[in-house]
Symmetry: C2
Subunit: 254 residues, 2 copies
């Protein structure tokens, strides 16, 4: 397929690479900043533009990889109408693109950073389309990079995205807290590596609701008290410790 990529961030980089590897051709890369567009275009063996009015006709898909707030603004500035536009956002409705002849969503449920190479094969790719013909095209595109494709409505997608915030964003924030705490006491974050990996594997292989461990679920008051004393000088950590401990206990009080 011929694909136009709109955006130059983490998602544009990761999907662009995946599409190239799957044998597609990136016809054009749009970036607000000429330099960023050029950089990605070179990587993807494509050409760049920083002018949405200069997007060329002829691509099978125009893929929006821009921030949620930018999707509508970018769509407004595109003069072409008879094209197939697809965004990649977990939080935005598909209909935000309904000014185009065909439209859809391709949402890869994964945390994407430019620096980390991702294998899309196992990543759930959620798709939604305006019509059957668009569905066929988008499904083919998705299947060329992943074996884990799902038809998902915009509403369901919003719940997936919200659950992903808990499972990734908030989790990573707790890892950061742990890293700061250890660093302050001259202990390496490496101590936690095997624990972090095992925590993830356990949640995947079992059900996280059945494998909760630690002082909260044991209602171990003395240990919780000791921890809260250590956290006296970390008011933010103390707040999250108290809230999450209380929530674990409420879930397990019977």
């Amino acid at each position: 397929m011929l694909i136009t990529i709109i955006g130059t961030g983490n998602v544009a980089n990761a999907l662009g690479n995946a599409f190239i590897e799957a044998g597609h051709i990136i016809a054009q890369v749009y970036g607000r900043k000429k330099e960023s567009a050029k950089k990605l275009a070179i990587k993807l063996n494509s050409e760049e533009t920083d002018n949405l009015e200069k997007l060329k006709l002829g691509s099978d898909v125009y893929l929006f990889c821009v921030s949620d707030d930018a999707i509508e603004k970018v769509a407004d500035k595109i003069l072409l109408k008879k094209i197939f536009c697809v965004h990649t956002s977990g939080a935005m409705q598909m209909n935000v693109l309904n000014k185009f002849m065909q439209y859809g969503v391709l949402y890869p449920l994964q945390t994407i950073s430019t620096k980390r190479k991702l294998n899309f094969k196992d990543i759930p790719v959620c798709i939604e389309t305006s019509d059957k013909n668009a569905e066929k095209k988008l499904k083919n595109l998705a299947m060329s990079i992943s074996e884990n494709i799902h038809h998902i409505s915009s509403e369901q997608k919003l719940y997936l995205h919200l659950a992903a915030v808990f499972a990734n964003n908030f989790t990573n924030n707790l890892y950061s807290d742990a890293a700061n705490l250890l660093e302050d006491h001259k202990l390496s974050f490496r101590f936690l590596h095997p624990l972090i990996l095992e925590t993830a594997l356990k949640a995947i292989e079992a059900d996280p609701r059945k494998v909760q461990t630690g002082p909260a679920v044991r209602f171990d008051r003395n240990t919780i008290k000791k921890h809260l004393q250590l956290l006296e000088i970390y008011p933010d950590l103390k707040k999250s410790y108290q809230l999450l401990t209380k929530q674990i206990q409420q879930k397990n009080k019977n």
Copy 2:
């Protein structure tokens, strides 16, 4: 070595198995309940007792695998004095065992459930001992199951344990939240498996403080507003969403 195991829970099971596999002999297993003691003793090719006064002399190490609150109570009831007692708690001081001739701590920094087989080789095992001779014995024992041994003071250990609560207990609780949220909307938790694994690998291979993604770190108000609307009927999740979003933003406000 000859080892006596005191306790029959997750840690007793996991360490007992690891010691057997490393070629040690479990001389005796103590459990408050005769049945549990017998069950573990059979698994470990050992004999059981439910009477602390009947612990036999002769083991190189008496390993306490009981809950934090029980360590002192159990120690009080043991009549033997000239033995080497070691507890496995992350939160308790070593000195809680100072009525014995030799004492120490062997703290495996990992989440341990009876049902999951663990390979101890990479697990950080933190040790602390009352004297040089005890150190030599405990180090040998620890090295027989892990290649990741650390001499750690009781104070440092407490910070490791606290950091582990953030990295495991609280993280797993967020996975549970995500699982509940998906279940309520007829979506499988399997959608999150690749994300959960990648989140862990990313934190291990990079620094979690440098790979935060999501609406909070992007200060994406519209998405955060949408998520909070969805969480109106989940008051607990709303509280943790608000607190953790605020904390991510405070960490990244510059």
